[in-house]
Amino acid sequence: MLGALLYLRLTSLKNLLLSRLRRLRQPKYLLGAAVGAAYFYFVFSRPFAGAGRPSTSSGSGAAASFTLSTVELIPLLSVFGAFALVVIALFTWLVPSEKQGLTFSEAEVAFLFPAPISRRRLIHFRLLGAQLHILLSAIFFTLLSRGWSFLGGNVLTHIVGWWLVLTVVNLHFTGAALTLNRIFDAGISVWRRRLVILGGFSVLIVATAISIWQNAPAFPTGNFGPGAFFSAIARTIDTGLLHWLLFPGKLLLAPFLAADVRTFFFALGPAALLLAAHYLWVSRLEVSFEEASVAHAEKRAARVARFQAGDYRLGSAPAKARREPFPLRVPGRPELAFLWKNLLGTRALFHWRVWTGCAVAIMIGVPWIIRAGGKAPFAAIIAIIAAVFAIYTLLLGPQLARQDLRSDLPNSDILKTYPLAGWQILLGQLLTPIAILSGLLWLSLLAAILALAPRADTVSWLTPGFRLTAGLCVAAVIPALCTLQLLIPNAAALLFPAWFQSTRTRGGGIELMGQRLIFVIGQLFVILISLLPVVLGCALVIFASQWLIGPAAAVVLATLLALTLLAAEIACGLWWLGERFEKLDLATELRP
């Protein structure tokens, strides 16, 4: 029977790889694969030169920043790593509030659950299925942790090390899920279980605290660096009963942290024993998991469907309807109906009351922090944070705020039957992310303006009047900038629907990663081209007019020019993309 299950896994894997290779015949995937491969090459092209050569003195790379030698660093990583594993295990046992299912796809549920296959074999199938992901993850993490070559070891020891950690964690998750199901079946309530676990853990912490108080070495005093600080923390954690709780984790991490091949082989035995113990535990559990697994598979399938339909939220769909953001009266501009509809689909956070509250908090909080902190340092920090937040919002916001045509593209057939021009539908769809991004940018601007207040003492032209004028001018330009930024990804969705739809597939390999990179680079390129005439025009107007009419009036004049140019670009974009939307036939575009 296991042979048949193995056949299913291997054949599926073979066909997946073949289909991935076959689709490289399409230019969009080939180009995506090339860009993805180039990205991987440049990110991970640093040689493994340092591997196998652990430093014994002051360390290198990350180690140097800790001013610790590798000999000191490895135990430190071992303790922190083991502590992280203990915390993960604790949450695994503590959090679940309902019966746990094992991860099966809907097809696997449909074919395997009614088949004459024992539970034990199904568990083995599940474990076997996880191995491919674990192996790929081990390789990926090894690539990511190449900078840790100062630890010693080599590529192979690191891959095996990661594989051991991930496999045991996976086995622990499976074993915990099954054991929790047994606890549920025994009629033990969730809170009773949580109380027992938390009680046990609290006893452990108290016992450790007593042990630390009696035995632990004192913290370093005087002027000490982060290395000494973290070492002291590690020594503190690794004391008393907690030392024994961390012991299995340290055994598990030892192969990965092995400085050389000899140490690796010595560490392999205990880690393998830990793995075997976990396997025995899981394979001997005879607990029902089918019902929960079916529910889990359905939830997963619904989540994937939602994701492909443009809903990127990780949680399940809301069970209750939201309160309307504003009353939608008839008659009125139909574009506002799209704003109303899309706002209903956003989180409760995007409500005018929340925005007003944030604005009031900033207006009270920023001056208070600056006053309390003695002006300059805090003012500069707030201004920098506000500026960085604004830049990230403007650049990455359009990729995250997708409550527009990108989310509604699967409904395009219905949208196109509405008695509206294409540009009206597009404009209506854009209003929600424009409102969200503009709101965030206005808040950042408010914080920056308030934080810049103390500079008026030292910079003569930064008068309150000028700050107010400049602030209002920037605030006026923000919605137009957001509209332009959002037009680009929506244009990509309309002009290259097949490309766009394929990038919405979760995961999907190096070629899809490359496609997403192409979209991001394309967005940056187009926005730069679009803003170039605006920036040049504004700079020219300010330069030429400030001598005559003063800086504040020059900024106002430049803002008017910027708004005119941006409005013209947006109008052209909306009209053109609206025409494109009217002609779009998604079914044809997505035909392979």
């Binding site: 069970a319 008839v330 139909p334 109906a337």
Partner: protein
């Protein structure tokens, strides 16, 4: 009410619909039938203004769909086979949204009897995720009917409905036709079409191979036999294959 003249739809080298002409008068229900790949959905989507035709003209209530799409679309409603709903709008909010789009001023007065007729009034404050497949279908229909369209296009309208739902849907279509609407519907359920349609248009490989009232079509393919079903007529007309 619906005038189609020399309609064609091409996808690259492939012609899905070729030189199709027909009219549907107020009160008529035209059944669009044909084997898989005959061009039914392409025809319906072209008629509803979802995709632009490659050639020919479509007039809805005398308005050219290509020249004045917005005005033409005010008169029509399209009902897809799979209900397309907005995840975060309740039943009532769907109707509110559609009312604003179509400018239906007295929508609250219209919506309630519509919800009651379709038996979803009790679900008015629920999200689509909380509705069954049949309920979703009913909501999509309610949205389509809210602006009292004079032309309706149904793509497989009976899919996913229970026997009671099918009966009610048939009654609803017939009532709209009696009230003067021109209706085109496509379905593979020929015995059900037989009960609803006044006219039939049989397509094969994108071409019209028969069009007329049920009696006319029956006379054309029955070869003197009596009581020949639409299913039998369909098989005779299409030669019993897709090709």
């Amino acid at each position: 009410m619906i005038e189609v003249s020399a309609l064609s739809k091409r996808y690259g080298d492939f012609t899905a619909v070729r030189d199709l002409s027909f009219t549907v008068q107020p009160g008529e229900v035209l059944g669009l039938v044909g084997p898989n790949g005959a061009g039914k959905t392409s025809t319906l989507r072209s008629l509803a203004g979802i995709i632009p035709p490659s050639g020919g003209t479509v007039r809805i209530g005398g308005i050219d769909l290509a020249a004045e799409p917005v005005a033409a679309k005010r008169l029509l409603a399209f009902f897809p086979d799979e209900p397309r709903l907005f995840d975060y709008l309740t039943v009532r909010q769907h109707l509110n949204f559609v009312a604003r789009i179509y400018g239906v001023a007295d929508h609250a007065a219209l919506a309630q009897p519509l919800l009651e007729e379709l038996e979803i009034a009790e679900k008015a404050d629920q999200l689509p995720g909380e509705l069954s497949r049949g309920m979703k279908q009913k909501l999509a229909i309610a949205c389509g009917l809210l602006h009292s369209p004079r032309v309706m296009f149904f793509d497989e309208p009976l899919t996913g409905l229970d026997p009671l739902g099918i009966r009610r849907m048939k009654d609803s279509i017939l009532r709209r036709a009696r009230d003067g609407a021109a209706i085109v519907l496509s379905s593979h359920l020929l015995h059900l079409l037989e009960e609803v349609c006044s006219h039939v248009l049989i397509l094969k490989k994108g071409e019209k191979i028969a069009h007329g009232s049920l009696a006319e079509i029956s006379a054309q393919f029955a070869h003197g036999e009596t009581g020949v079903s639409l299913e039998e007529i369909f098989i005779r007309a299409t030669g019993g294959s897709e090709n």
